[in-house]
């Protein structure tokens, strides 16, 4: 079956995944492979062969330059062994018969440079592993190392391609890292599709904030696609179509037009207030990652920033951002909003390249590890640098600071103490800042939710991070496709925790907003309002749709819905009921 589709290169193939960002995109695919995964076989047109062969040659050339440099750096006697290893690898890279084996493979099989490099070297490696002598069979590791080095060259070039696109594409990858998506030229990247991921994976968040369609959890999409294949990404239904026939393309173009019209109609309500039919005002804020998105929040009718994620300052660049880098980014964002609220969340790094590359060994269970506020409290220099910039920017507008992943009172006290330290530094240097800056925390762990009444005494606002709260409550890794179907916020346990937090915030008379993905899913809006939420922070492209819902409901309806749901015992019962009531309110959304 698989053989068949390979020969019939243009056979249409329909793949089902999870829709994570709405819209339709039709464009040629651009595939980003990773040296960390097996490279799938990909065919190329015979006319492309010379280009791919040249890519192989360049990869060898650049790998030689890189390795020669590395070898030269190993100077001490202790490094002698490493120097020898590099010398051996260099001989391989200089070996013409190896290079020829790879380019011949590209030529005879019409496959990509990556695939030819990977298969050839793995074939050699497997030859070694078959040798009985352990001293020789272990040499397979050297061959894998050479493979990775060449792939890194090839894929590194590919990543640059994404930054210098000249035509529209949809990006297809096993998964996308923050570093990769940060380099996207958004004028040309029209949609995203990944093998891995769930509703709240990084790919999903980026796609929604860029306002481009995305489908994730497609399992083996990267293996059934070749570069330059035409692809349709249906971000409304979670469908990806590879090599669609003309009839399908025509249908999708028509559907895409209708969807654009709906968006346009929704955009028209952006000037109207977010008020329920019975007159209750709801505040809609935007979640952003880059200063550039602040403008989008305004365009879509957002009234401020409810969550400014600051990790990108770290993931974008090779070096650690300076205090001035932080300040500039904040100043740019605050400039867009003048005196409307901008909530800056301190860095929520963890379980990513930034923290893991600083370790000798990766953490075995990073989501329960040194992440977020814990990482900051152990890296005080870095934490203070950011707080210094936030405080300095606090005089430019209505700036609030928010600490993520607080799990207990002691952590909160520590974070506040450090903030006070930085304030004293600013005082000593006579630098102006807002002495009464509002301080809030994310409630995103069951332990914080259960002790919300205690935590509320020492801060000005809560922000409910429903993604992590759901993940930690249900013990489900939201990015793991094997269990991602178990991930849902519509479960009694999560809803009870949310209700507790809302009630405690009301009792303590502090502000509360919801900033998780739950807030941007139409099904949940009425429920959240009924549970007492009055401020919602969400991905900018979703603001008009959520406002439409707010304007179509009465608080009385919402209260009834919430009461009914809190009496329900199963996820299925709750989601079915929510879908039904939302469909009645906003039929176009479905």
């Amino acid at each position: 079956m698989k053989q068949n589709t390979r020969h019939k290169k243009y056979a249409m193939e329909i793949k089902k995944g999870i829709a994570v960002s709405p819209g339709i995109a039709i464009a040629k695919s651009l595939i980003i492979d990773s040296e960390d995964y097996r490279i799938p076989r990909r065919s190329i047109e015979p006319s492309q062969r010379m280009t791919e062969i040249q890519r192989v040659r360049n990869a060898f050339k650049n790998a030689i330059v890189e390795l020669t440099q590395l070898e030269a750096e190993q100077e001490t006697i202790e490094q002698r062994k490493i120097k020898d290893i590099f010398a051996v690898h260099l001989r391989f890279l200089h070996d013409r018969s190896l290079r020829k084996k790879i380019t011949d493979w590209v030529h005879s099989e019409s496959v990509t440079a990556e695939y030819a490099v990977s298969t050839t070297l793995r074939e050699i490696a497997s030859h070694f592993t078959k040798v009985k002598d352990p001293y020789i069979s272990e040499r397979a590791a050297d061959i894998y190392d050479i493979e990775r080095r060449l792939l890194k060259q090839l894929l590194g070039g590919k990543r640059e391609d994404v930054e210098h696109l000249a035509k529209e594409v949809v990006v297809v990858a096993r998964e996308l890292s923050p570093t990769q998506t940060a380099g996207f030229n958004t004028i040309f990247v029209k949609g995203l599709a990944t093998d891995a991921g769930g509703r709240t994976s990084h790919t999903a968040i980026v796609a929604r904030s860029l306002g481009i369609p995305a489908v994730v959890a497609l399992e083996d999409l990267t293996e059934s696609i070749s570069g330059e294949d035409t692809v349709i990404i249906d971000g409304n239904h979670g469908i990806v179509i590879v090599n669609p026939d003309e009839e399908t393309i025509r249908q999708y173009e028509q559907y895409s037009d209708e969807f654009a019209k709906l968006e346009y109609r929704l955009d028209a309500i952006k000037e109207k207030p977010a008020v329920t039919r019975d007159g209750i005002k709801i505040t809609l804020l935007g979640n952003i990652e880059f200063p550039g998105e602040a403008e989008l929040v305004l365009q879509k009718g957002g009234e401020g920033i409810g969550l400014y994620r600051t990790e990108f300052l770290y993931l974008n660049t090779q070096s650690e951002p300076t205090e001035e880098d932080h300040y500039q980014a904040y100043a740019e964002t605050i400039g867009v909003f003048k005196h409307r609220p901008v909530i800056i969340r301190t860095v929520d790094l963890g379980a990513d390249k930034y923290t893991q590359s600083r370790r000798f060994a990766p953490e075995p269970n990073p989501f329960l590890g040194l992440r977020s506020i814990r990482f900051c409290l152990q890296n005080l220099m870095m934490f203070k640098t950011q707080l210094h910039a936030i405080l300095r920017a606090s005089v430019l507008g209505d700036v609030k600071v928010m600490f993520p992943l607080i799990t207990n009172l002691q952590e909160l006290m520590q974070a506040k103490m450090i903030l006070r330290d930085v304030m004293e530094d600013l005082d000593e240097d006579s630098i102006a800042y807002n002495k009464d800056i509002r301080i809030g925390i994310m409630i995103e762990t069951p332990s914080a939710a259960l002790t919300a009444s205690t935590l509320a005494r020492d801060i000005d606002f809560f922000s409910l991070g429903t993604n992590d709260l759901t993940q930690y409550t249900l013990a489900v890794d939201r990015a793991n496709e094997l269990v991602s179907t178990l991930y849902s916020s519509a479960v009694p346990a999560v809803l009870r925790l949310i209700r507790t937090v809302i009630q405690d915030a009301h009792k303590a008379q502090i502000d509360l907003s919801v900033c998780g993905e739950m807030a941007s899913e139409p099904e949940y809006v009425m429920l959240l309002l009924g549970m007492g939420v009055r401020t919602i922070s969400l991905a900018p492209p979703m603001i008009p749709e959520i406002k439409q819902i707010v304007r179509s409901v009465t608080m009385e309806d919402c209260n009834n819905i919430a009461r009914k749901i809190l009496g329900m015992n199963s996820e299925r019962q709750i989601s079915n009921y929510l879908r039904d009531v939302t469909r009645k309110t906003l039929p176009e959304a479905f």
Binding site: V88, R91, D95, F128, I136
Partner: protein, 98 residues
């Protein structure tokens, strides 16, 4: 130009066999000569100047290899390689006596 053909059988004597570093030494010595150098075991014949092919011979201690050189400096090449493999044993120790 005179075309000399020269052949010799050598035995791998160092304990660890023709692993990566010895293969590199072999290729480095072979590459100093103009002549074509072919190395064979019972099954395969490979280019003595290619580290990929040489290492894939996976010659362990005690393996006998036939070195065949063709070209004007074939004689010198074969002697140099014989010295490297059998006399110097790639600067490595022989197996420990039991």
């Amino acid at each position: 130009m005179e075309r000399v053909v020269c052949e010799m059988e050598v035995e791998i004597k160092n304990a660890d066999g023709l692993h990566m570093r010895p293969a590199m030494q072999f290729v480095d010595v072979a590459s100093r000569f103009q002549c074509d150098i072919t190395v064979s075991n019972i099954e395969n014949s490979v280019d003595g100047k290619s580290i990929m092919q040489m290492s894939m011979l996976a010659a362990t201690h005690g393996t006998k290899l036939k070195i065949k050189a063709e070209g004007s400096d074939a004689q010198q090449a074969v002697s140099a390689l014989q010295r490297l493999v059998e006399e110097n044993m790639f600067d490595e120790p022989p197996p420990k006596k039991a």
